[in-house]
Symmetry: C2
Subunit: 571 residues, 2 copies
């Protein structure tokens, strides 16, 4: 490919709306273009990268006996009604009607389509296990697309679905797929990706893992242990709190606390630490706007995914009205109006000597003893893990919280979809069962952006050889010099004939423009033909990451390039 | 791949709703599954076929300097409003709103997205020409999906867009693309595909060609000349009629014709040939339901695409009401109510001694002379070409009408999209111009089905080696015989190690089941290991098309298979 014919503009200025580097660099380098909120077109360099990623994924899925299939992007709503998700999934599922008024959806994941495809095939135990996958466009009507290709509405995803006759068989396959994912990320240039236990969310099922690239710009919070190998995402990590048992509890006492509304204010006022307060956080259920008050130790935060999982329904932060019976700033567990649901975080279990609202304007209680004053409270884990929290595996106060980008996920789905969609098989004795499913996703564009996020400098991406848009970037300096031009033209042909993917820049532009374009395109190996080099009968070969810069005799350039490309493909 | 693990069911019965063989065979062979009207999922064998077709297309597009990009499936309506197609395209364009109420469409073709992607890039003449293409899912909300993958709603399409600074440059590229298409169809196993001049329809532009597979089950009508190379589709072929000039026209005379409504009836009644009648065909405009009466010689049929092109708007067959002023069965050009639009087909130009309706219940005219009685008539070509019609190229009465499946199309678009979307470039003198576009489409799934339609027998598809799901189908007869099984297992490994794509059937099923499955899967080369063959220390190798069946010594099977595959790939 000749660079002067490459469609797409490259520019220096950082676009104003970019919050992360990969987004800015991929716009600046002519990789993609904004079409609508969370919707992009790809230019050739990005399409070449995503095709290479797709091929790596395909090879690794085939290696674990995956069968590539294709599901539709547009699905009949009836399939999603069978599974119950037509109702249960929020407005990120795009619903519409076709010209005949039939209800349709845009596929955001394809469990239903997978079951529909194999429901008749999988009627006998002898057909199991099997796995089918596709690499296909998905649409998820995100409320807040952001960060370029990290959170988009339309994206290409590899989604795989496995079917089993026993939990044990699923677990074995799940482990195989986990290893395949490790190979995929390593081959794509991200060996540093880690897997963390995760919450299964709307997918159903129990055990699941997310594959995370740790980076401060990630939008997910991940809990890691400093001293053992415990890793989980924030939703899946239990918050473990050791409360001192209270020997001689103080009495419950009402205190006049005018103009004191927040936990900070009441603890300042009482001169007690926040750990000795009981905070109220108010939500409303999406279904009927009923109020839910969650009580939690004053120094902790609520994880709303945990709350949703316990409630089994969607909630949103409350809008408190005058008539609702709640006194904002003064809400507490004692004397809470009966029509309001009260939930209790485990951090309060057994705690005493707490301050809390008195459910009366301008009054708080002190001396709240949970066991004595809230004897009926049932406790659940609603709290976000904090830095220095207790590791559920090794027990040390060794937890840290990091940020990450989720580049893949795997789920043990169980029978959620096969049951609701009535897919059954007969076992050896002729008895009916529901097959057990696993599902496995990787977002192709997000993976490309994550590689860029992990491997770039101020001047552009540094693509790993395995997914680079081209393998070699050939620069002809002073293309107006006929000798240099003739040599570079010949080298371009020779490199291509040697089977290398070459991007050739023979524009008569300054060295500055030439190199800044090359940096933005991020091709891992660069060859420079210039009048000065040619005088010495050699070329300069360097790597995009600046780790190597050598001079190679003209007649050895092709061989050396081939050798380096092979070496970089292996590493 | 082992056949006993291949997901998908194969069966003998022809599904009742299949009107063409490829549809029936691709359902019977476990290639695809119905999901919704005009929407299918693909199983592994079809996905492997479409991927090979995609790769052939990709290579040929790259060879004519195409740059692979990717446009979104979901597009903002605003882009289609810019081009005017949001309004002008009918309900086959699927329109909907996203969660924020923004109007969106599902891409059915991507001219707008292509212009949006390169509008800034292409601001200088030095960037031209260039071509971008994608291979991506499209959605077209067809009123009547039919014939399996031939007319669907969701499909994968290669769509390419070229941009030029002169009509001459476009024409040169158009020709190059025409040749690339010929190579693509030949490589995919359809060298018999022909190109025909076509009507550009909603795409805009003037010159266009369709690539047609001639087959009686095709849904397009194609006009071919017996004696020269003239080829066009029905919409694009002019109907040429030579009317005798009328020397001494008879007078216009009103005739009482009770209970006579059709052309057949009036011509029987008057004992004149249908050529001597003037037929009225009534339409209504979609926009306002206004009536349009098209007069045409009684023996000819109206081509509605020609009608739409002349009118410049959509029409539908009329619903005639009592108050509309028309007398069905008695409509004629003389005395037609003035508020009704009258159109005249060229077949009537200069004709005389015609019968026609008298615009009065139970009366017709005879002796209609167009020049005398309809002096203001303007004539256009609205008629369908008929067998034996006059060739517009060589002038003989040599036209025949055939049926075909359109497997690709190419359009010279001109500046329709660049003008409406205001894409401009500066020429060498600094003057602004609109670039000239071409666009080029191939439906991947329809091409796969067309290959099946052209190459099958009663038992299944006969896939060409270039796009076959696998290259070799290895049958182990009597897999319960340990010796045969051990040999076949080893051969399976050896064939794969030799780089061949092998489907291996080692099920303990009857020869009948084994061969009927093999026929349905249509793999071009078959190797049979059986106890009888092994006794002679050989295997049987045959081709799916039954043209070859040989015995090959065991130690030469791999080499022979490799040789045959290479040979069949070249042919």
């Amino acid at each position: 490919m000749k660079l002067d014919k490459l469609v797409g503009d490259r520019f220096k200025e950082k676009p104003s709306d970019c919050v992360i580097d990969s987004h800015a660099l991929m716009l600046r380098g002519g990789y993609m273009k904004y079409v609508a909120n969370g919707i992009f077109s790809s230019y050739m360099p990005l399409r070449r990268i995503t095709r290479k990623i797709e091929q790596i994924i395909r090879e690794e899925m085939d290696a674990i006996d995956g069968q590539e299939v294709q599901f539709p992007v547009v699905l009949p709503a009836s399939l999603w009604e069978e599974s119950g998700r037509y109702e249960s999934v929020g407005s990120e599922l795009l619903r519409f009607e076709d010209r005949n008024g039939s209800k349709m959806v845009l596929g955001m994941t394809h469990e239903e389509a997978a079951v529909q495809l194999v429901r008749e095939y999988g009627q006998s135990y002898v057909k199991y296990p099997f796995m089918i996958y596709q690499i296909q466009t998905k649409f998820r009507d995100e409320a807040r697309p952001r960060a370029g290709l990290i959170r988009v509405r339309e994206f290409t995803m590899k989604d795989a679905y496995s079917f089993h006759t026993s939990q044990q068989d699923l677990e074995q396959y799940y482990y195989k797929c986990h290893q395949a994912y490790e190979r995929i990320f390593a081959r794509a240039g991200l060996p540093e990706v880690i897997s963390v236990a995760s919450d299964s969310g709307m997918m159903g099922g129990s055990v699941s893992h997310e594959f995370m690239l740790l980076t401060p710009v990630g939008e997910d919070s991940i809990v890691l242990c400093n001293s053992c190998d415990y890793r989980a995402n924030m939703e899946a990590a239990p918050s473990i709190i050791e409360n001192m048992s209270v020997e001689n509890p103080k009495p419950l006492e009402k205190v006049y606390t005018p103009n004191i509304h927040t936990i900070e204010e009441i603890c300042d006022f009482l001169k007690t630490p926040q750990e000795q307060s009981c905070k109220a956080v108010v939500y409303q259920k999406n279904a009927d706007d009923a109020y839910v008050v969650l009580f939690i130790r004053g120094d902790l935060e609520v994880n709303e995914t945990k709350l949703r999982n316990v409630l089994g329904e969607e909630v949103h932060p409350a809008v408190i009205t005058e008539s609702c019976g709640l006194h904002p700033g003064y809400i507490g567990p004692v004397g809470l109006p009966e029509h309001i649901t009260a939930l209790f975080d485990s951090s309060l279990q057994g705690a005493g000597d707490l301050s809390c609202g008195a459910n009366e304007e301008e009054y708080h209680y002190t001396g709240l003893c949970m066991q004595r004053d809230c004897p009926d409270a049932v406790y659940h884990d609603f709290a976000k893990v904090q830095e220095g929290g207790i590791c559920p595996k090794c027990g040390g106060h060794t937890l840290t919280v990091s940020r990450g980008i989720e580049v893949g996920n795997i789920f043990q789905l169980g029978t959620k979809y096969t049951k609701t969609m009535n897919m059954q098989y007969l076992d050896q004795e002729g008895k009916s069962h529901y097959p057990i499913m696993g599902c496995y996703g990787i977002g192709v564009g997000r993976l490309a952006a994550s590689v860029c996020e992990a491997h770039h400098d101020d001047y552009g991406p540094i693509w790993p050889m395995s997914i680079a848009p081209w393998q070699v970037h050939l620069c002809c300096m002073r293309a107006d010099n006929p000798e240099v031009k003739a040599y570079a033209d010949g080298l371009y042909q020779a490199l291509q004939q040697a089977g290398l993917e070459v991007l050739y820049d023979d524009r008569t532009v300054s060295a500055g423009v030439m190199f800044s374009d090359a940096d933005l395109l991020g091709v891992p190996l660069r060859i420079i033909a210039s009048p000065r080099n040619l005088k010495e009968n050699c070329c300069e070969i360097s790597t995009r990451d600046k780790s190597m810069q050598i001079k190679v005799p003209c007649d050895a350039v092709v061989d050396k390039a081939q050798e380096l490309v092979q070496q970089m493909l292996r590493s």
